[in-house]
């Protein structure tokens, strides 16, 4: 079991807004702050561009965790985008939880362009959390395989 835990490499999709979090991820790189290679970043203009469909699609295609990063509320490059994203994601995550899916597989973090260290720390923490949960089965298994 222990062995299995350590060899499991989760697939993590991170949606990062272009203006804050993607830049924060770049800063983490510039400062050589390491986090697992399991995290793959998709650049979007704003956290409000993240459609719940993208998240479900990622899970459908085998992602074990999805994290959305955007500018801190109030700092959105487009002024209000992350406020909408915040509501959408809150409701979506609550729904996933309602369906009995591990809520730790989804997360929203606000990371500014200056927070390279926070970005790396967040990713380390998220990867550790998802690794502990193991492979994402529930979303697939919600419908019994006959």
């Amino acid at each position: 079991m222990q062995n299995e835990m350590t060899t499991f490499k989760p697939k993590i999709v991170a949606f990062c807004c272009n203006w804050c979090s993607y830049a924060g991820a770049d800063l983490a790189g510039t400062n050589r702050l390491t986090y697992p290679a399991d995290v793959k970043i998709i650049r979007v203009p704003c956290s409000c561009r993240v459609n719940p469909m993208f998240i479900l699609r990622a899970f459908q295609r085998g992602a074990d965790g999805v994290i959305i990063c955007g500018c801190h509320p109030g700092d959105c490059h487009y002024t209000t985008g992350n406020y909408y994203a915040r509501r959408r994601m809150t409701l979506l995550f609550s729904m996933l939880d309602f369906l009995g899916i591990e809520k730790e597989r989804t997360r929203v973090e606000w990371v500014s362009a200056a927070e390279g260290a926070k970005f790396a720390a967040t990713m380390n923490d998220f990867v550790a959390t998802v690794t502990k949960l193991g492979e994402n089965k529930r979303l697939e298994d919600l419908r019994c395989k006959k």
């Binding site: 770049d26 793959k40 998709i42 203009p45 409000c48 992602a63 985008g81």
Partner: protein, 666 residues
């Protein structure tokens, strides 16, 4: 099928040390659609760019993936290079294998594997890329300045000076704003009127400037370069083209007891009035709320005495439609209401005044002719107590403002100094929490008040002001440095009330789709690097509407805003960001969800006739995005339930292709 070229950059050893670049380019060569794949030491160098250009020509590439540093670094470089080789620049995608891969991973195998996946995601995206062309929109060469205080005046003068037409909209009957009410200005003690009124006259005389006084902005439509604005010119009941400003009507009007707002209610004016002698435009205004003729049809005295025949009781509000390329907001401020500060007895005693009221009481054109007299009994005050930070830096219960109002320390020093200079028999106390005097010659000015004029500066706050039956004000305060409680018998107490944005600004911000902070100050596009621009393109900020500031700072910002507006007006065409939203009219429900989340007002609806598949025609309400206004955030794409709204450059299918490439089916 696209013909894609893949270029893997080593970035010297920055990438090559932890990513096997050859393995990446070899593996990606086998991806569908990839017809060329290579790696090179420095892709961003001139020779690297030449490899890219040659490959585009030699292999007839339709799409390019560059595995290199962050797109924030060199996306523009590679797009430009691709464009030089005849490829649409938006057919270039970057896989970030430096900041987000080689620099953070130490294990070469893991780094290489991740780089390959990131490359695949970029290739998957490029497959769905479409060539994009940046649109262009024309610029109307006229600016609108909202607010005619010193900020608006300076901005208008600068823009007019550069040869562009400017309109000033001011809600008061005259331009000039708060500065007209001031007596002297720190730190030089010039008389405010002496330096302001010539500028007001300049405005009136400048051919490029039109002043719409006693007017308000009613509606703003359009976008940067092409704003359509409706201005409501309120009825003055005076024909401004005929009125000579002689003032005869203002002397004859029988309604004498109208509180004079120019003197902050410290004296009265008539129902027909000119705010002050140097008003621009210098024309009379009839106050409809108090005029007997307008209220009951009985009087008409002003019309009888007016030799110019300018009085027109039938005048109506007029709506003026104008087009502008740029809008400058200069709506200014007002002191906060002090009715919630019972401890200072502001509403109980006439001798407790705000600093702005004090300006009027010391102003030669004010109600007392410049002699400082107690408002309650007209006697000469001997002991004056100034209280700083009244409502500023308050974080308690919604009574005050959390911010520092910035100007109070300096004007209080000015007041204290002037009182001591003119009336050496007075004792002047200033209670302060901190004295903040950053500014050229500011601290020197404050020190002069203390050292040369003997103003008593006391570190501590006033806790209570109690009016006594004999007219004295009992001031209870704390001297923190002496650690003692003080009880002062004062004749007057002057409160440095916090300043807040003009209340009209909130509604205006909604019309302009310009953002505001929680205190209703307009937000700047960047707090340090773009301080005079609103995040909404084409809207510029001048003066206190953006945050508290004094006159020198307001004037510099006003000129800066003018420079930005001139920069915009000088252009004939604006190039737009091509990564904008667009709506598929066939799928659009017309439900307005997208319109509601658009921060820029870029989405409008129209009823459009459609030829349906069954050969009938139908009229449907559909959304349309103005590409010149859209900034490409994508909020609308998620609000849209049918998926009719999509974002060029970051389309639903592109992002899902990236997701798929990263996850791959299990």
């Amino acid at each position: 099928m696209q013909r894609i070229g893949v270029f893997v950059c080593w970035c010297g050893s920055n990438i090559a040390a932890t990513v096997d670049v050859a393995a990446v380019s070899d593996t990606l060569k086998n991806e569908p659609g990839v017809v060329f794949s290579t790696n090179y030491q420095y892709m961003c160098s001139e020779s690297g760019q030449n490899i890219l250009k040659d490959a585009i020509r030699d292999y007839q590439l339709t799409g390019v993936v560059i595995c290199s540093c962050s797109p924030r670094m060199h996306e523009a470089t590679f797009r430009k290079a691709a464009a030089a080789a005849g490829l649409n620049p938006y057919m270039v995608e970057i896989a970030n294998i430096r900041e987000q891969c080689s620099w953070i991973h130490k294990d070469k195998a893991a780094g290489t594997e991740k780089a390959i996946i990131l490359g695949r995601a970029a290739i998957a995206k490029v497959h769905l890329n479409a060539p994009l062309t940046a649109g262009e929109s024309p610029v109307t060469k006229r600016a609108l300045v909202i607010g005619g205080g010193i900020a608006g005046i300076q901005t208008a003068l600068d823009i007019a000076e550069a040869g562009f037409e400017v309109d000033i909209v001011e809600k008061q009957p005259t331009i000039g704003g708060k500065m007209t009410q001031l007596d002297k200005t720190f730190p030089t003690l010039d008389c405010a009127a002496c330096i302001l009124t010539p500028k007001m006259v300049d405005c009136a005389q400048n051919e490029n400037i039109s002043i719409y006084a006693y007017s308000e902005v009613e509606e703003v439509k359009g976008f940067v370069g092409n704003f359509h604005v409706k201005i409501r010119k309120k009825a003055r009941y005076v024909d401004t083209t005929k009125c000579t400003g002689c003032g005869l009507c203002t002397e004859k009007c029988p309604v004498k007891k109208v509180s004079n707002e120019f003197n902050l209610g410290l004296d009265n004016r008539r129902a027909v009035y000119i705010p002050f002698a140097q008003a621009v435009p210098k024309v009379a205004t009839i106050d409809a709320d108090h005029c007997n003729m307008l209220k009951s049809g009985k009087c008409g005295l002003c019309a009888k005495v007016c030799t110019a025949g300018a009085i027109d009781y039938k005048q109506k509000d007029e709506i003026i439609d104008r087009e502008y390329g740029a809008i400058v907001v200069a709506t200014g401020y007002q002191p906060i209401a002090l009715d919630k500060y019972d401890e200072f007895a502001y509403s109980q005693s006439k001798d407790v005044v705000t600093s702005l009221e004090f300006e009027r009481l010391t102003n030669a054109a004010g109600p007392t002719g410049g002699t400082l007299l107690r408002p309650s009994d007209g006697t000469h005050p001997h002991t004056l107590v100034f209280v700083q930070c009244v409502g500023s830096r308050c974080e308690d219960d919604g009574r005050g403002k959390s911010y520092c109002s910035k100007i109070c320390c300096m004007y209080t020093a000015k007041h204290a100094m002037l009182v001591r200079e003119k009336y050496p028999d007075t004792e002047v106390y200033v209670f302060y929490i901190d004295v903040r005097t950053p500014g050229k010659n500011f601290d020197e000015f404050y020190r002069r008040a203390v050292e040369e004029y003997g103003v008593h500066y006391i570190k501590g706050m006033v806790g209570k002001v109690a009016p006594r039956a004999d007219g004295k004000l009992m001031v209870q305060a704390c001297d923190l440095l002496a650690n003692e409680q003080l009880h002062i018998e004062a004749d007057m107490v002057i409160l440095a009330a916090a300043i807040e944005p003009d209340p009209s600004a909130r509604h205006l911000a909604t019309m302009l789709t310009a953002s505001m902070d929680t205190n209703d100050f307009f937000t700047e596009a960047h707090p340090k690097l773009r301080p005079v621009e609103s995040p909404t393109a084409g809207i510029f900020l001048s003066g206190v509407c953006q945050g508290p500031k004094d006159i020198p700072e307001t004037v510099s910002q006003a000129s800066a805003a003018a420079a930005k507006a001139i920069g915009l007006l000088a252009k004939n065409k604006l190039t737009c960001n091509p990564c904008v939203a667009h709506s598929d009219e066939w799928m659009c429900n017309g439900c307005s969800a997208c319109e509601k989340v658009c921060p820029y007002g870029a989405i409008t609806y129209m009823d459009k006739e459609f030829r349906m598949p069954d050969r009938t025609t139908a009229i449907r309400r559909v959304a349309s995005v103005n590409p010149a206004v859209c900034q490409g955030c994508g909020a609308c794409t998620v609000a849209c339930p049918s998926g009719a709204m999509d974002l060029d450059g970051f389309s639903n299918s592109q992002i899902m292709a990236e997701v798929d490439a990263i996850c791959k089916m299990k």
